[in-house]
């Protein structure tokens, strides 16, 4: 019987490909829009995830995100180190500054000052140079998308001299990090250099990176730090979440993009539902004939389920592959998409939505078939 159902489905090539296109297109639309939306929001968390070594971030109680933070006095580091359960703590300076390029252009940058001795706070992957270049005088390490922004394509930025707050800064390495939400150029340097590069305010240390001792969770140690020092301590994931929440609360992205995503969703669902229910209505005579020769309603339901499954499987397969390739290629080729990825939840969710929709519409369209008297076909 399923064989007949499949034959029925694929009998009219045009209709079948129309169905496939509808399902594939809505799969692509839903998953791709959702992915871009999620990735844009996650730009708020990149500053945290770019630093692989720390599991606790300590900051002034009023600090909110990696970029919205009030610096602390330098003794706060020793206070945090004094808390029992803190394995180690190291300072991190994160501040905006303006650089002058060799061509004389101005460009806003984020200067990240990492601990002088241990370089804790540096990202993991170096594209050019290595960690130790930071020990050289006046050296900074630029992020890859920042380098693409500052310099023409194909230009090797190693050795370029920049001017930061009237001081010399020489690019001696490139790191691979995901750009932040504002996609500013990021310059990594040592803490002592950063103090000179960033115009002076009274307190300079923006964050303290810390790790919990063995046997304690970051959450527990964070609470101890807050109790002992009065500073705000967030675990890595909490602070990443804070960055995302900040974007949600303070920008129009969730509303504007959210509407687009919702529309994409609705359009996708509508296309799938309409095409499939139209297909069943077109074939109502065939179903009637089947009923006339004694096929039970349960069999017919199975047939439609098989048809829905085949259309859903093929359409979803094409659509989701296109969406995944789109994101994967985009993240490789375009600095705007750098770091974009497809969260595994999105294909699963899309599969669920597409299958449910196709089943529901199939079932809805089928109701008239089920109610139909077999004799009606012959009228």
């Amino acid at each position: 019987m399923t064989w007949i159902a499949i034959r029925m489905l694929t009998g009219d090539r045009q209709k079948f490909f129309g169905l496939l296109f509808g399902v594939a297109f809505s799969t692509l639309l839903i998953s791709q829009q959702l992915t871009i939306f999620i990735n844009l929001l996650e730009r708020g968390a990149t500053a945290v995830y770019n630093i692989p070594t720390a599991d606790i971030w300590v900051m002034d109680p009023v600090s909110r995100t990696p970029d919205v933070a009030l610096p602390m006095p330098s003794t706060a580091l020793d206070k945090v180190r004094s808390v029992n359960g803190v394995e180690w703590a190291s300072p991190l300076l994160r501040s905006g500054a303006t650089i002058r390029t060799p061509e004389g252009d101005l460009e806003g940058v984020t200067v990240v000052g990492v601990d002088d001795a241990t370089l804790i706070g540096l990202p993991k992957t170096f594209i050019a140079g290595h960690r130790e270049v930071l020990y050289e005088p006046d050296s900074v390490v630029i992020d890859s998308s920042g380098a693409a922004k500052l310099f023409p394509p194909g230009f090797d930025p190693i050795g370029v001299r920049l001017e930061l707050n009237d001081r010399r800064a020489v690019i001696r390495g490139i790191v691979d990090v995901d750009p932040s939400f504002t996609s500013q150029v990021i310059l990594y340097t040592r803490y002592s250099n950063a103090l000179a590069y960033v115009p002076g305010t009274r307190n300079r240390m923006t964050f303290i990176l810390a790790n919990a001792s063995d046997g304690l969770t970051a959450k527990q140690v964070g609470e101890r730090i807050t109790d002992a020092t009065g500073l705000k301590a967030r675990t890595r994931d909490e602070f990443a979440r804070d960055g995302i929440d900040f974007i949600v609360e303070n920008t129009g992205i969730p509303i504007n993009f959210g509407i687009t995503v919702a529309l994409g969703f609705v359009v996708g669902v509508a296309i799938v539902g309409l095409t499939f229910s139209l297909f069943i209505r077109d074939n109502i005579k065939q179903f009637g004939a089947l009923k006339a020769i004694g096929v039970t309603n349960a069999k017919i339901r199975l047939m439609v389920a098989a048809q829905a499954l085949l259309v859903g499987l093929v359409g979803y397969g094409i659509g989701i592959l296109l969406a995944a390739i789109f994101i994967a290629l985009g993240s490789i080729n375009s600095p705007d998409f750098k770091g974009f990825y497809t969260p595994w939840e999105i294909p699963v969710l899309t599969a669920f939505v597409v299958l449910t929709m196709i089943m529901i519409t199939g079932w809805l369209a089928l109701r008239s078939v089920l109610k139909m008297e077999p004799a009606e076909v012959f009228r």
């Binding site: 006095p73 020793d78 180190r81 004094s82 001795a117 499987l313 990825y341």
Partner: protein, 342 residues
């Protein structure tokens, strides 16, 4: 055989068989792309390990501080008491000198000329004294002639007065000449003292830490002119070395004074050196920031603890260190607070 396969393949429907298989392959490929594209958010250990409190005292509470290595005598900025061009520097950085050893010499020609001048004055004053002595002798002899005569009428009173007056004058001249000798002596002694003062000497047995003066440069009693100037020479006793640990004022109550501290040089967190408590500075001071910015403002005060570190640790004066000091244990701490409230 080949024919049958192609025939079979022809029998296979593209739409009904190949398309679903392709769809399944597409889903598998997608799963692969998606799973391999997940961002790497794993945590990792730092490549260079930072100073760790747990390594210092196990799980016991500790108070962290940062500090500097300093000589046990503290750093002595050598100054000069007399101004002038430096003509000779006797020591080089790293030299070990005893108390009183010469460090550098300020141009002494003027003072040496003064000494010669004073010596000449002494000679002249001595000559004057000889003259005065001769005059006195003559006057006394002449006066003696008169005093031998018994008969008062034999000489006039006038003569007698003259003679005795000549003796007194000669005596006064002698006294004046002697005073001049003493004065010239004193002038020479002062010049000699100045000559000594031109040689700047080590006040204690110490190591030369830095030499910022070279022959030909001008040394001023007030130190070098201009802001941010360096002292001419820095010396200090480097055996043993001390460290000065800054403890944030909010943590003062937690520090267990008198116990050992564990210190690590910056960048060498795996080295842990036991340091012995020496004293706590009685004055809580504003924290010195090491950025050297002229606009530095300070609102954090720190308690400075002095610890002695064992010899031959390869530490240098001025090196930054991270320190962990024992904190009061729970019992200690609460007992003390209870004591306070009684």
């Amino acid at each position: 055989m080949l024919k049958s396969i192609t025939e079979r393949l022809r029998g296979v429907s593209f739409v009904r068989t190949i398309l679903p298989i392709m769809a399944i392959i597409a889903i598998i490929v997608t799963a692969f792309i998606v799973l391999s594209g997940q961002p790497d958010r794993s945590e990792e250990e730092p490549e260079i390990s930072p100073p760790k409190a747990t390594a210092a005292f196990g799980n016991a509470d500790s108070v962290a501080g940062s500090g500097l290595v300093e000589p046990s005598s503290e750093v002595i900025d050598i100054g000069t008491s007399l101004a002038g061009i430096v003509t000779k520097v006797f020591v080089a950085p790293g030299d070990q000198v005893n108390a009183g050893a010469p460090l550098f010499l300020v141009d002494d020609r003027a003072i040496r000329a003064q000494i010669q001048e004073a010596t000449a004055s002494i000679a002249r004053a001595k000559a004057a004294r000889d003259t005065a002595r001769a005059l006195l002798a003559t006057a006394r002899q002449q006066s003696a002639l008169y005093s031998g005569i018994e008969d008062e009428r034999a000489v006039s009173k006038q003569e007698v007065i003259d003679r005795s007056g000549a003796v007194r004058t000669a005596r006064a001249q002698l006294a004046q000449a002697e005073a001049e000798i003493r004065s010239a002596d004193a002038a020479r002694a002062r010049a000699t003292t100045d000559l000594n003062r031109l040689t700047v000497r080590a006040p204690i047995t110490a190591e030369i830490l830095s030499v910022n003066i070279r022959p030909g440069e001008y040394a001023n009693p007030g130190g070098q002119q201009g802001g941010g100037s360096e002292p001419y020479m820095e010396i200090g006793t480097t055996d043993p070395l001390h460290i000065r640990i800054d403890i944030d004022e909010n943590e003062i109550g937690r520090v267990q004074l008198g116990t050992d501290a564990v210190i690590s040089p910056r960048g060498e967190a795996n080295r842990r050196i036991q340091a012995q408590f020496v004293r706590a500075e009685p004055l809580v001071t504003p924290k010195t920031s090491l950025t050297n910015a002229a606009t530095e403002r300070v609102d954090v005060r720190v308690l400075q603890l002095i610890y002695r570190i064992p010899a031959d640790q390869g530490l240098f004066v001025g090196q930054q260190i991270d320190a962990f000091v024992r904190a009061k244990t729970g019992e200690n701490f609460s007992a003390e607070q209870a004591g306070d409230s009684q």
